[in-house]
Symmetry: C2
Subunit: 330 residues, 2 copies
Amino acid sequence: MGRRVEPVRLAGKNGRMRREQPGPDALVRSAYIAHRHFVEGRTRIEIAEETGLSRFKVGRVLDEAVSSGLVTFQIASPSGIDLDLSIKLTRAFTLDRAVAVNVPSEQPEVMQQYLGGTAADLVTEILTDDDVFGLTSGRTINALARALKTLPSCEVVQLAGIAGPIQETGIETIRRVSAIAGVRPWTIYAPLVASMASTAEGLLQQPEIRDTFAQFARVSVAVVAVGSWNPADSQMMQNPALGAEDRDKLVARGVRAEVGATLVGDGGEIIHDLDNRCLAIPEAQLRRIPQVIAVAGGAAKTEAIRAVLASGLVHSLVTDAATARRLIGA
Amino acid sequence: MGRRVEPVRLAGKNGRMRREQPGPDALVRSAYIAHRHFVEGRTRIEIAEETGLSRFKVGRVLDEAVSSGLVTFQIASPSGIDLDLSIKLTRAFTLDRAVAVNVPSEQPEVMQQYLGGTAADLVTEILTDDDVFGLTSGRTINALARALKTLPSCEVVQLAGIAGPIQETGIETIRRVSAIAGVRPWTIYAPLVASMASTAEGLLQQPEIRDTFAQFARVSVAVVAVGSWNPADSQMMQNPALGAEDRDKLVARGVRAEVGATLVGDGGEIIHDLDNRCLAIPEAQLRRIPQVIAVAGGAAKTEAIRAVLASGLVHSLVTDAATARRLIGA
DNA sequence: AATAATAATGCTCATATGAGCACACCGATT
DNA sequence: AATCGGTGTGCTCATATGAGCATTATTATT
């Protein structure tokens, strides 16, 4: 083969080629070299010996092929994760981890199914025997529990009281998770919000609840839901113990989102007005957990998520691709 | 620790996985590393420092990302050249160059337009002032001439007499090319085939024709058309000087294709029966040209092209993508 | 519990690669 | 002619990388 293995002229007309497009020969030659290197894994030196070019020339052809866009790198996930968005999200908010999940529909149930499933995969992946796993309650967290198949035998701690109706977000979430882990769960048999501070104080005296609260300091990995107060998409907010008056007052105070029972304003500031009526991990202890993963998605929650990310309460995020785009882009 | 019998352990202490599918975290992490390396061009060591991994680990993640298909290399041409096919074609027939052109239609005129255009780009690219450029005639070569915009000032030599009707494949092809090169052309004012050997011999005595024939030895780059004799798609074959009797006899002899006036059989063997009635570069001299580029395409010519490639008469090929696929046998 | 089998990690050292430089070449300009 | 600027080339040398190996961590088996 190699009939002309002499110094190749990539430029036509004795190098009189200016900023023109490469001709067919240069194109095919570049493509061949790129294929040989990137796809077949040959070294530049091997290609140089084959083609009779210098290794420097091969390197330059390769660089040019990449920078001109002749060669592009496609990073595509076989699973339903948008890797590119995930990376952008990680960077945009300086997160430990971010996962943007492709969901087939924006319907809440479908969304919860997918986010919960992915979050389940995520915690299955990162939890170890030595971890202490904390969870809040909520529909998405419930979907997570249902999607869990296996888990290391780590302890499981409920981080917050029950936010919504019992049948939806029951204690069974924690029970299921701890059953999979094969350990006894630390539960909180109480509502997330009490009507009066005195009630909350009373509940906190209960031995079981105190025991659970005592575990908060040991939690190493937590998964938390995010509720939106404006627009309203939060089980905590809809809790009957919270009167319309309280709600309005808090929204007027700038509450945009909640994590557990920690209320977050638009800029990420924490609003403590309701603290003494809540049964959940306090902000200070939440911040001490090394890895807090928020799981939330949907258009309505976009700004709530943004607020939570600004608060620095969470280190990681699992959300849907559309919401990821909204968070990053416009 | 943990003496209890666990169900199924998927993850080890440090989140290590067995031969399971990577979880979302590993996936995003790999994607991030791959992005940083391939797209952003960071070295493995830089990425190692950023991420806290060892450079070996980064290398392994990268290898795994490539071999698992997470990262794919896409080599796509902005122009109408199918680079992948071109490479396969080059390899399958051990060619110097091969270009597979995407054509919007299989119609002969459209095909000629595209092949001629690409061939024009190709010769514009590879010719230098010191080359001597040889051409046969034919409709595709004519399209090449029309598509030519610039050319080094190299000499232009007509390699074969006129194959078809004057109006279609006239001498003007050569005239146009040489005009662009800015030099005097070496022409052959004569038909490709004569009715009788004596006529051909007589024409060969003509000073102008002898002068042109004398240039054959100097030709360094040639572009040739390919005609198909079975199925019939060749202007030479349809030349009136070739009687039906001659045609049938030659086809019966196994002629499958022609290059200039060199007849080629199925296995690539040369059939010399008609040599003494033709006015064209002889096989021996054609073989001495360092770079002979065949330009031909279309379903009907597939087997003719295959025969010509087998003959070793040409070093390079410009064809349409569909024909390239047929030739490769994919 | 002990031990084998397996997998993952980081090391050494030889090799491959990149950055910058000097040179050659071409075309344009004085 | 002479010179200049631009471009393409291959060199040197410091750095990055790969192959193979020893070590450790983890899982499976006795």
